[in-house]
C-alpha cells in the first residue's frame, strides 16, 4: 500500500517537474522525492550543462517556493555566505544614541557603576537588527521554506565545506553572539559540483548523491521537445542522434544538454527542416566550444549525419 503511494508520488514529482519544462529521469525524480521525505540535501554531480542548476530552479518553480542561490568560488567565507554584522549601522546608531547614552550613564559617579548600568541594557548592538543575513541565513529564515542552491561547491575551499556541515545535517547555524538559529521550515538544499576536486567524506555523507550524466536519446528528444516546441520531429530525432554520435568522439568538451537546446534553437531560427552537411558545418561552433574539437569533428560530420538518419529509419 505504502509502496503504491511511493511510486505514484515519484511519478508526480516527475510530472510536476515536467510541467516546469524540466524532463527528469526516474533517478532524478526519485532523488527529489527522497530528499523531500527524509529531509536530506541532494548533491548533484555531472558534466557542465546537463541541467544541475536547472533542476533547482525547476523544483522551486514547481513547489512555488523562493530560490536562494549561493554561488561558490575560491575565497568564499562566512561573512559572504552566512551573515555579517552591519558595522556602519552599528556605528551610526552609537552616534545617534550618544545623547541617550549620556542620559543613561549620567547618574553614574564612577566608571565602575557606569559599566554596571551599561551591562543592564544588554548587547543592544549585537542583536538581530544588526545582522545582515547572507544566502545561507536567509534560507533558514524563510517562513514558507525555500530551495537553497549551493552552486559549484567544488570551487570553494575545503574550509567552507566544514562550515556547511551544520546547516546540511541539522538545518541550523550558530552565531556566537545570538545563539543557534534553526530553520523555520527546513529548506530543500541542492548542491552542485563539477567534480573539480574531491569533496570531503563528511559532506558527501550528509547528502543524497545524484549523478546526472548525458541523457539517453529518447529522454534528450523529450527535453528538446519541451524546451524548443517549434522543432519538427524528424529534425529533432536527427539532431539528437547526431549529438550522440559526436559524444562518442574523444573531445575536450563534449556537447551537453544545454548545447543541444541551443543548437535546436539555432536550427529552428535558420528554418532548417533536415540536417545536411552544410548547415551542420556552419553551426558546429554552437555545439563545440574549442577550435581543436571543431577540427576533430568536422571530417566526421557527413558520416554522423548518415548514421543519425539511418538510426532514425529503424528506430
Amino acid at each position: 500500500m505504502a509502496d503504491q503511494k511511493a511510486s505514484t508520488s515519484i511519478e508526480a514529482v516527475g510530472s510536476g517537474l515536467a510541467a516546469q519544462g524540466y524532463i527528469a529521469s526516474r533517478q532524478i525524480a526519485t532523488a527529489v522525492y527522497l530528499s523531500q521525505q527524509i529531509e536530506k540535501p541532494i548533491l548533484v554531480e555531472g558534466p557542465a550543462g546537463v541541467g544541475k542548476t536547472e533542476l533547482a530552479k525547476a523544483i522551486a518553480a514547481w513547489r512555488g517556493m523562493k530560490m536562494i542561490r549561493l554561488q561558490c568560488y575560491e575565497g568564499l567565507d562566512e561573512a559572504k555566505a552566512l551573515y555579517e554584522w552591519k558595522y556602519a549601522k552599528q556605528l551610526l546608531y552609537t552616534q545617534i544614541l550618544k545623547d541617550k547614552l549620556g542620559e543613561v550613564l549620567g547618574g553614574a559617579q564612577t566608571l565602575h557603576t557606569a559599566l554596571g548600568q551599561l551591562h543592564d541594557f544588554g548587547d543592544v548592538f549585537f542583536s538581530k537588527e544588526f545582522v545582515e543575513p547572507r544566502p545561507l541565513l536567509q534560507a533558514l529564515e524563510q517562513p514558507g521554506g525555500c530551495v537553497l542552491l549551493i552552486d559549484e561547491i567544488d570551487k570553494s575551499d575545503a574550509e567552507f565545506e566544514s562550515l556547511l556541515l551544520e546547516i546540511l545535517s541539522d538545518f541550523q547555524v550558530t552565531i556566537p553572539e545570538l545563539g543557534t538559529v534553526s530553520a523555520i521550515t527546513p529548506p530543500t538544499v541542492i548542491l552542485t559540483s563539477n567534480s573539480e576536486r574531491d569533496l570531503g567524506d563528511a559532506l558527501k555523507r550528509r547528502c543524497l548523491h545524484l549523478h546526472i550524466g548525458f541523457p539517453e536519446q529518447r529522454l534528450e528528444e523529450r527535453i528538446v521537445e519541451s524546451r524548443v516546441p517549434g522543432i519538427s520531429q524528424t529534425l529533432r530525432r536527427q539532431m539528437v542522434g547526431f549529438i550522440h554520435e559526436i559524444r562518442s568522439l574523444d573531445l575536450k568538451k563534449l556537447p551537453s544538454v544545454s548545447e543541444t537546446i541551443d543548437w535546436a534553437r539555432v536550427l529552428v531560427l535558420l528554418q532548417a527542416t533536415e540536417l545536411d552537411t552544410e548547415i551542420v558545418k556552419d553551426t558546429l561552433n554552437v555545439l563545440l566550444k574549442y577550435e581543436a574539437d571543431i577540427e576533430a569533428a568536422a571530417p566526421q560530420v557527413t558520416t554522423f549525419i548518415a548514421k543519425a538518419a539511418r538510426s532514425n529509419v529503424f528506430g
Binding site: A6, T30, L34, I38, E45, R205, H209, H211
Partner: protein, 458 residues
C-alpha cells in the same frame, strides 16, 4: 527485509563502497519511504543514499543486481507451501492414484527436507536454502577454499542427516522413491553450491582484493606478469589519488607575528580603518616542479612506465612535470605522456628510444646540451635507472652540474643496494652528487619515494 538490507550493506562494503552506520540508517529510511515492491526504484534509492561517486554507483549497481538475483526467503512461505500442497492433493487422485497411494502414505513418515524435495516445491526449497545459509552465516565467507565447508554447513542446517536416514530406509522399502529422492538431493547440492559461489562473489571480494593488492604492492615491478599490468596500472592510479588527496591541500601557511599592513587596512575599511581584525602575512609554498629522467632500456623499462604514469597523474599536486626518456640518447616525452593514453604513450616512447643498450654518459650530454635551462632552484630532478652504463664514460661531472642547479637530485634505482657498484654499475660514482638515493622496485617503494619528494615542498 531488514535482515536482507543488512546483508546487502555488507556486500556493498565488499565491492568497496563505504557504508557507515549513519549511511545505512539513511538507506533504511529511504527504503521505508519508497517501499520494496518496485525493484528499479529500490535500486535508485539505495544508489542515491549509499554511493558517493560515479564509480561507486557502478560498483553498487552491479552488486545490487547480483545480490537480488538470489532467491530470497519469502514472507508468505507457509501460505504458498500450503497452496502447493493442496494443489498436489488435487492433482494426486486424478493422475494415477493407485501407484502414488502408498508413496504418499510413506511420505508422511519422512523428514521435512525429504518431503520438500519430493513435493518439488521450488519456492520452499529456495526459502530453505536462504534461511539455512543465514544460519550457516554465509556472509562470513572470505576465500574460495571455504566453499566446501560452507556448502556442507548449509546442507547440515537444512537437515541432511535426517535425509540420509530417510534414504537408507527407503532404499530398502521403496527403491523407486529412493531413486527420485537421490536425484533431488543431487539437484539440491548443486543449488547450494551455486548459492555459496554467489555468496563468495558478494562477500569475499573485499578480502580477496585487499590480499591481491597487498601482494601486488610488494611485487617487483620489473618482473610483473603481462596479465597483471592492467591491475598494476589501477593500483598506481589509486596511489596517485592518495597522494593527491594528501598533498593538494592549500599550501599557504600563516606566519604569525608578521602583520600584513595592506590587507589589514583593506579588511577593516568597513569601520573606518580601525584595525579590529588583523591579517598576518602568509607564506606561499612552491608547488613541486619535477624533471624526471627515465631509463627505458630493457631492464628498467617497466619500472619507468609505472613511474611516469604516477608522476603524470599528480596534476593537482605537481605544478610542472617535464619527463625525459633515454637509453642510448635522450628525448623529451612530456607531450606524448600528456596527450596519449598510458599504453599508447609507452609504446611510442619505446619505439623512439627504447630497447637500446643504455649509455648514461651520452644521455646526460644530450640533457645538458638542450634542457639544462629547464632546471631552476625549485626543481627536483628525479633520475630513474639502474646506472648500468655498459662500461661507457658515466660523465658524473654533468650530474654534478645538474645537482648544483636544482633543489634536489633524487636517484631511484630498481636494483637492490647489494648490486650497486658491481659489474658495470656506476651507482657509487653518481651517488656522491645525489641528495637521496633509494631503491625503488615495488609499487610501495615507488609510492614512498614520490611521497617524500612531494612532501619536501609542503
Amino acid at each position: 527485509m531488514r535482515e536482507n538490507l543488512h546483508r546487502f550493506f555488507r556486500a556493498a562494503r565488499g565491492v568497496g563502497v563505504h557504508v557507515s552506520p549513519a549511511e545505512s540508517i539513511d538507506a533504511m529510511r529511504a527504503v521505508a519511504q519508497v517501499g520494496i515492491s518496485d525493484r528499479a526504484v529500490l535500486r535508485d534509492a539505495l544508489l542515491l543514499t549509499l554511493a558517493k561517486s560515479q564509480d561507486e554507483k557502478l560498483a553498487l549497481g552491479d552488486c545490487f543486481d547480483l545480490f537480488f538475483s538470489q532467491p530470497e526467503p519469502r514472507q508468505e512461505q507457509p501460505e504458498s507451501v500450503d497452496q502447493d500442497r493442496s494443489q498436489e492433493a488435487d492433482q494426486a487422485p486424478s493422475s494415477g492414484a493407485a501407484s502414488d497411494a502408498d508413496g504418499s502414505s510413506q511420505q508422511q513418515e519422512l523428514g521435512p527436507l525429504a518431503q520438500m524435495l519430493l513435493s518439488q516445491d521450488r519456492n520452499a526449497i529456495a526459502a530453505a536454502i536462504a534461511s539455512a545459509s543465514g544460519a550457516a552465516s554465509l556472509s562470513d565467507i572470505r576465500y574460495s577454499t571455504q566453499r566446501g565447508i560452507f556448502s556442507s554447513r548449509i546442507l547440515d542446517a537444512m537437515g541432511l542427516q535426517r535425509l540420509r536416514d530417510d534414504l537408507d530406509e527407503l532404499t530398502a522399502t521403496n527403491p523407486a522413491l529412493a531413486e527420485r529422492l537421490r536425484a533431488a538431493l543431487d539437484a539440491l547440492r548443486e543449488a547450494v553450491r551455486d548459492t555459496v559461489s554467489q555468496g563468495l562473489a558478494l562477500y569475499a571480494r573485499e578480502e580477496a582484493e585487499n590480499l591481491r593488492n597487498e601482494i601486488l604492492r610488494n611485487a617487483p615491478l620489473a618482473r610483473i606478469e603481462r596479465r597483471q599490468v592492467a591491475e598494476m596500472r589501477a593500483l598506481i592510479r589509486q596511489i596517485a589519488r592518495r597522494l593527491r588527496e594528501r598533498y593538494s591541500k592549500p599550501r599557504k601557511r600563516q606566519r604569525r607575528g608578521h602583520l600584513d599592513v595592506r590587507r589589514t587596512l583593506r579588511r577593516n575599511a568597513a569601520w573606518g580603518g580601525v584595525p579590529f581584525l588583523t591579517t598576518w602575512k602568509r607564506k606561499h609554498r612552491d608547488r613541486p616542479k619535477i624533471v624526471a629522467l627515465c631509463d627505458v632500456s630493457g631492464s628498467v623499462a617497466q619500472v619507468s612506465d609505472f613511474f611516469l604514469l604516477l608522476i603524470h597523474s599528480l596534476h593537482e599536486v605537481v605544478d610542472d612535470v617535464r619527463s625525459f626518456a633515454f637509453s642510448s640518447h635522450l628525448i623529451e616525452v612530456s607531450e606524448i605522456l600528456e596527450s596519449k593514453s598510458p599504453e599508447e604513450a609507452m609504446s611510442e616512447i619505446m619505439s623512439k628510444v627504447g630497447f637500446g643498450s643504455s649509455d648514461y654518459g651520452s644521455s646526460l650530454v644530450d640533457f645538458e646540451k638542450e634542457f639544462m635551462s629547464t632546471l631552476t632552484p625549485q626543481t627536483t630532478v628525479i633520475v630513474l635507472g639502474d646506472a648500468r652504463s655498459n662500461n661507457l664514460d658515466p660523465r658524473a661531472d654533468i650530474l654534478r652540474r645538474i645537482s648544483d642547479r636544482s633543489k634536489r637530485l633524487v636517484w631511484l634505482n630498481p636494483e637492490g643496494r647489494l648490486a650497486w657498484g658491481f659489474g658495470d654499475s656506476e651507482m657509487p660514482r653518481y651517488a656522491t652528487f645525489c641528495s637521496v638515493v633509494r631503491q625503488c622496485a615495488t609499487a610501495q617503494q615507488l609510492e614512498r619515494a614520490v611521497s617524500d619528494i612531494v612532501a619536501t615542498y609542503q
